[in-house]
């Protein structure tokens, strides 16, 4: 099976007045057709920048190297006109805040029609609108034919995100990148949108990259998961393997530090000391070492690379020594 999206050794550097900032430092990710890849990490870990670089959506000042292959075709460095053909029809993206992603002065229907006709100019306005209404129906907008004439402010947050998803799947992309699609939404609305993503995947066979800081959201939707820290993937594997047998101390710390709905315990939570490092002044060796409870002298100098350890890939010198995850919490 050829990967529908294959990112290898992706590096992104932004020039700043204080010097270059490496936001993404050699990321490898593979997405197979019809699969859901969860990307977890905290603010500044590089998860969004990775996907923006993939789609060529970063400002021109960003320096991007490495390789991004969509169905075997290299996307990095291709002409903007070529990239525009892939964006929307091959890879589509939805963002965290659906309200700021929609144009407030056009109707919802008009915006979906526009997306369809950019990639399929042969489709007439009327047919495109019919298709837009079908899409709104597919994503569960009630009275879709009437609501297509509404403006974004007439939609609730959850409905705006549904409309964004309708727009994203309008041209039957192979890949849908969803960047924190439910973070701005309430938990009952989040459940609706996650259901919708599962349905869309089943119905359309679209592969999804789901970016989230919420380990629960990823657990419920993703097949595979990649954990990012300071611009790197530090652990990856199937959701079951990573959640049950994580080998990287950061992943294990994250899993242990979240209070769980199912957990009756009121004792102290396991917390990871310190804070995320500044990307301007990354610690030497393993970027996680100043916060790591398993840190040893060579962690300060040797930068661990992602390697196979048991069922997962982990970037830690001492990954073999980690027992079952449950023991940490």
């Amino acid at each position: 099976m050829t990967a529908v999206l294959d990112i290898s050794d992706l590096q992104v550097t932004f020039p700043t007045v204080e010097g270059p900032v490496s936001a993404v430092r050699g990321v490898d990710l593979t997405l197979d057709p019809g699969r859901v890849l969860g990307v977890v990490g905290e603010s500044g870990s590089g998860k969004t920048v990775t996907m923006l670089a993939t789609l060529g959506l970063l400002p021109a000042s960003a320096e991007v190297t490495g390789s991004v292959k969509y169905k075997g075709r290299e996307l990095l460095g291709v002409a903007p006109s070529e990239l525009r053909k892939v964006r929307g029809s091959g890879i589509a993206m939805i963002f965290q805040d659906p309200r700021t992603s929609l144009n407030p002065v056009h109707t919802i229907g008009h915006q979906i029609v526009e997306g369809i006709r950019i990639h399929h100019p042969e489709v007439g306005r009327k047919d495109a609108l019919k298709r837009a209404i079908d899409l709104l129906r597919l994503v569960g907008i009630p009275q879709a034919d009437r609501r297509a004439n509404d403006y974004p402010h007439q939609f609730s947050g959850g409905m705006c995100q549904r409309a964004m998803i309708a727009m994203a799947v309008a041209n039957d992309p192979d890949v849908l990148v969803a960047d924190e699609p439910t973070t701005a939404l309430d938990v009952t609305i989040q459940a609706q949108i996650l259901d919708l993503l599962r349905d869309i995947r089943k119905e359309k066979g679209v592969a999804i990259v789901l970016i989230s800081h919420d380990l629960g959201v990823i657990a419920g939707v993703a097949d595979e998961v990649a954990v990012m820290y300071a611009g790197r993937v530090v652990e990856r594997g199937t959701v079951d393997d990573v959640y049950e047998q994580a080998r990287h101390p950061y992943t294990r710390g994250l899993l242990a530090s979240v209070p769980r709905l199912t957990d009756d315990n009121r004792g102290p939570l396991v917390s990871i000391g310190g804070g995320a490092p500044s990307l301007l002044h990354l610690p030497g060796g393993c970027a996680f070492h100043p916060r790591c409870s398993h840190e040893r002298p060579n962690c300060r100098v040797d930068d661990p690379r992602l390697r196979r350890v048991g069922p997962v890939d982990a970037a830690c010198h001492y990954a073999e020594e980690m027992g079952p995850v449950k023991a940490d919490s």
């Binding site: 905290e42 603010s43 609730s156 959850g158 409905m159 309430d186 938990v187 009952t188 609305i189 989040q190 459940a191 609706q192 996650l194 259901d195 800081h213 919420d214 380990l215 629960g216 959201v217 990823i218 657990a219 419920g220 959701v239 079951d240 959640y243 710390g253 994250l254 899993l255 530090s257 979240v258 209070p259 769980r260 709905l261 199912t262 957990d263 009756d264 315990n265 009121r266 102290p268 939570l269 396991v270 917390s271 990871i272 000391g273 804070g275 995320a276 916060r291």
Partner: protein, 338 residues
């Protein structure tokens, strides 16, 4: 044993200490330009007992933050009663209100917006002390002690907020709230803006301070997992009303109100095997407008149990046989947390 009955009809044995904070029938309406009113809080009642943490949960727009601000009189409630140690908070004049604020403090959600970026950290923490009459020098010393209390280095007292991480800033917010040695802290989404790995440390600190300083917390949050971890009792709000209240076991193990059940079943759990097996109650539709709430039970437009009576008769918040109060004509225990 003699039994006294409070205004809610809930029996409380005599001899049990008076609640430190009581809120009765609290109402806050905001006028809308062009007529009408947003009914942000519509008759909320609860007690906060000494030394306990009461979690106030609900989704955006349910009125939880407005309730908190009304309790502190940061906004003036339209009607209702708030008593702190028996004193009528809503009747206090400006001077007495200031004394009250020494006992009742608040920590805000956003540690970036709630600290003045142009003030050094010591003066942020010392400001309430100086306002309440402490000489600047003594206040500065006390600010150092408070920094230590929240596990920050007192030698960083001369730094500015931007020199601290989000978790450290939230600790500064906590230190400021504790400066006047209050009895009650209102915590309005204190960890929502923090990254997961930082959140745990702040929650641990809050729990430790509550024990050490004998504080009572009114803990407002939308994250039901966090609330379960930190609360002794929990009140669930929907569209300006408390729809269910009880101990954390009542709410998490025996929820009786359909909204509570739906809310709990929607919370994702970081365990793929549980998530796959789980049955969810997925609500249809969106929150109705608080400017025009549904008649009768406000949840009925999204409720799978709704009958005619739900539109005509508002269900009271009373014990309906589950051992804790819930506001539903068809209240029934249901296990939804796996």
């Amino acid at each position: 044993m003699t039994v006294a009955t409070d205004s809610d009809g809930a029996a409380a044995p005599v001899g049990v200490a008076e609640p430190i904070l009581t809120v009765r029938d609290l109402v806050k309406q905001f006028p809308i330009r062009g007529g009408g009113k947003v009914q942000a809080v519509s008759g909320v009642s609860f007690d906060l007992h000494e030394g306990e943490t009461l979690g106030l949960v609900g989704e955006s727009g349910c009125g939880k933050s407005t309730t908190a601000r009304c309790v502190l009189r940061l906004i003036e409630p339209t009607s209702g009663e708030v008593r702190f140690r028996g004193r009528d908070v809503l009747a206090l004049g400006r001077k007495d209100l200031r004394t009250l604020r020494a006992d009742l403090q608040i920590v805000f959600q956003d540690p970036y917006a709630s600290l003045n970026p142009r003030m050094q950290v010591w003066s942020i923490i010392a400001e309430p002390l100086i306002v309440h009459g402490m000489p600047a020098k003594a206040a500065k010393t006390r600010a150092g002690e408070l920094l230590e209390l929240v596990r920050l280095r007192p030698e960083h007292a001369g730094r500015y907020p931007h020199e601290f991480s989000s978790g450290q800033r939230q600790r500064i917010g906590v230190a400021r709230a504790l400066a006047l040695e209050p009895d009650v802290l209102v915590l309005d989404e204190p960890v929502s803006a923090l990254d997961v790995s930082i959140q745990a440390g702040v929650l641990n600190l809050l729990e430790e301070l509550r024990h050490r300083l004998h504080l009572s917390y009114l803990f407002i949050a939308h994250d039901l997992s966090v609330v379960r971890h930190i609360s002794d009792r929990v009140a669930v709000m929907y569209l300006g009303k408390v729809v269910e209240i009880g101990t954390r076991d009542d709410i998490y193990n025996r929820p009786a109100m359909p909204y509570t059940q739906a809310l709990l079943s929607a919370v994702p759990v970081p365990d793929p095997s549980i998530e796959r097996k789980r049955k969810r109650i997925v609500l249809s539709g969106d929150l109705p407008s608080p400017a025009d709430p549904p008649s009768g039970c406000r949840f009925r437009t999204r409720c799978w149990k709704a009958q005619d009576i739900c539109a005509t008769e508002e269900p009271a918040l009373i014990d309906r046989g589950q051992g804790h109060p819930s506001a539903c004509h068809f209240a029934e225990e249901l296990q939804v947390v796996p």
